[in-house]
């Protein structure tokens, strides 16, 4: 089962927005500008891809010049959410996919935050009250993020989503990669 999308490219080709339908010359084309601000990943729900998810989220946040300590917190929270999807979502059925979507927003006072949604299309399972291990994973997510919302998607499709909203971070320093884009289009 292949990993969807080139590991070098944050946006899987199948999910690129229309504006990116420009010719790609060779395999080393810079990702479209939007990929710096939007994270889109789709991975098979297999334990081995959890590290791939971490690597991609880490790279995305580094591209945004996110502060290192917060960056590691967000990577840990996403890793826990992906782990839950891999372990629990497709227990009695063939393994499906795990989707990871992230975006950045400006907050009052010139700060910014990221919101990342980790979503599966398996069976909804709430954590049993006596599952200490699973609650530890959720506790880790909550310790690492500003808010963590776990529930069923509101679009009527089956599955579980985990909405991870980061704490606010200062804007990137002048000259940092995120500022060189000259693209203030909100996402």
């Amino acid at each position: 089962m292949p990993v969807t999308g080139d590991p070098e490219d944050t946006v899987p080709p199948a999910q690129l927005p229309a504006r990116s339908e420009r010719p790609r010359s060779g395999g080393d084309v810079a990702p479209p500008r939007q990929s710096r601000r939007l994270l889109r990943l789709e991975l098979p729900a297999d334990p081995i891809v959890i590290s791939v998810a971490r690597q991609q989220v880490r790279r995305w946040l580094a591209g945004l010049s996110w502060p290192p300590g917060q960056l590691e917190d967000i990577v840990l929270a996403v890793s826990e959410a992906v782990t839950n999807a891999v372990k629990h979502a497709y227990l009695d059925q063939p393994p499906g996919m795990v989707e990871i979507r992230g975006g950045v927003e400006a907050t009052p006072g010139g700060q910014r935050r990221v919101t990342i949604i980790v979503r599966d299309h398996g069976r909804w399972r709430s954590a049993p009250p006596d599952d200490q291990h699973r609650h530890r994973g959720i506790g880790l997510m909550r310790a690492c993020m500003d808010t963590v919302t776990i529930g069923q998607p509101d679009d009527g499709r089956v599955g579980t989503w985990v909405v991870l909203r980061s704490r606010t971070a200062p804007p990137p320093a002048l000259g940092a990669p995120d500022n060189n884009e000259g693209d203030d289009q909100p996402c």
């Binding site: 334990p47 081995i48 891809v49 840990l76 310790a143």
Partner: protein
């Protein structure tokens, strides 16, 4: 002495989905002598998550089996770059196993954030026997 047990190494899932096992975690077990006593040190380097945690468990279990009288088993995590809740769970389990077997077990962590932060925010720094260096762990055991 190389690690003898490695669960997951025979997995058939490695066909291009992600990095090779040894890129994610490397485990070595070695016996070290100290003026105060001997220690069997299981050194883990890399990432401990759902995919790799069974290899860590297997190495620690093998360490218990190889432990001689008067030795302390030390898990050195100073080269670990990522620790998930699965890793935390494994540390709790091996700590409880050591207590049941009445064997001394120590966990070495330095002040780097990837390991200490998950341990602290889950309150496990009160549960696990944590030391800054292997030497500190050996000294405390004797």
């Amino acid at each position: 002495m190389q690690e003898s047990a490695s669960g997951g190494a025979d997995s058939d899932l490695g066909g291009g989905l992600g990095p090779a096992d040894e890129q994610l975690v490397r485990i070595e077990t070695a016996r070290i002598a100290h003026a105060k006593g001997e220690a069997l040190v299981v050194t883990v380097a890399g990432e401990i998550d759902l995919y790799t945690v069974d290899r860590v468990r297997a190495a620690v279990a093998a360490g218990f089996d190889q432990l001689r009288d008067g030795e302390v088993l030390v898990i050195d995590l100073t080269e670990v770059t990522f620790l998930s809740s699965q890793g935390l769970q494994a540390l709790v389990e091996v700590t409880l196993a050591a207590q049941q077997r009445r064997e001394p077990l120590a966990i070495v962590v330095d002040h780097t954030r990837p390991v200490l932060h998950p341990i602290k925010v889950t309150g496990l720094d009160d549960v696990l026997a944590l030391f800054n260096t292997v030497e500190d762990a050996v000294l405390a055991a004797f």
